[in-house]
Symmetry: C2
Subunit: 167 residues, 2 copies
Amino acid sequence: MHEIFFRDQVRAEDRHAVREIVTSTAFFSASEVDVAEELVTERLAKGEESGYFFVFAETLERGPLGYACYGPTPCTESTHDLYWIAVHEEMRGQGLGRTLLAEVEARLRRGKGGKLIAETSSREQYAPTQRFYLSCGFSLEARIRDYYAPGEDILYFTKNIGPLERD
Amino acid sequence: MHEIFFRDQVRAEDRHAVREIVTSTAFFSASEVDVAEELVTERLAKGEESGYFFVFAETLERGPLGYACYGPTPCTESTHDLYWIAVHEEMRGQGLGRTLLAEVEARLRRGKGGKLIAETSSREQYAPTQRFYLSCGFSLEARIRDYYAPGEDILYFTKNIGPLERD
């Protein structure tokens, strides 16, 4: 595999890259793909004011192969939401999701740290997502029953990210 | 007391009324007052597309004395968020908050019903708010610790609103 770089700046062509990555997973609906792209558009229009921060994982040859989108939770001191994390189908199962999450955590740690929250559904379809968060050190901290639909709860996975110790 | 009317339409002058009601409670910060007004502005600009629905309680003489703002939770089948409920200080303790909440519930019931969620803080300052929701039939369904700040949790109070039975 070619060397992977991580990039925080967001470019106009990332709108297309994000659509392609998210679509390739065959996991998200058309309207969810639209939302994924909208967050990039919003970030391009408003910069950091948008509240959306990105980490892209890319190679020189192929461009972005995965990305995470996160941001400070409004009205909180140091809580952050993990809005999206997705890896292109062709990179599936190689640990890139885990590496992307570690990059997000490193960025929070270089700031003041805080609590990172990932929301997901209780549906069986999302069992791999739930296992992913648990295996990355998240805890299932809260659940609201029948949130998305009858029988489909929202699960809040959280992880405390300590700030980097400085000498 | 003069007769109270409930109104769903939103008018330009409600921006001022909402600021006045929310400020009078001495409960919200300046930035929270701004957010309260912004939701009215957003509703005026985008209509129901904004996702913000209002119920104003008013008298002919005084205009709005309290209001609730709620709306469908994005990506859910029938969950609704209660974004704001506030009563002017001069009407405090007369049951208007409870009546406003009943009006919101009546509107959900005339639709397809659903789950109504009210978020609040675990801080002692919000104990009256917490008691208000419990006394109105809400349950404390979920909590995320240290959400707003260290030691300050978010509490999710929820209530299931059944649809109106039709013959």
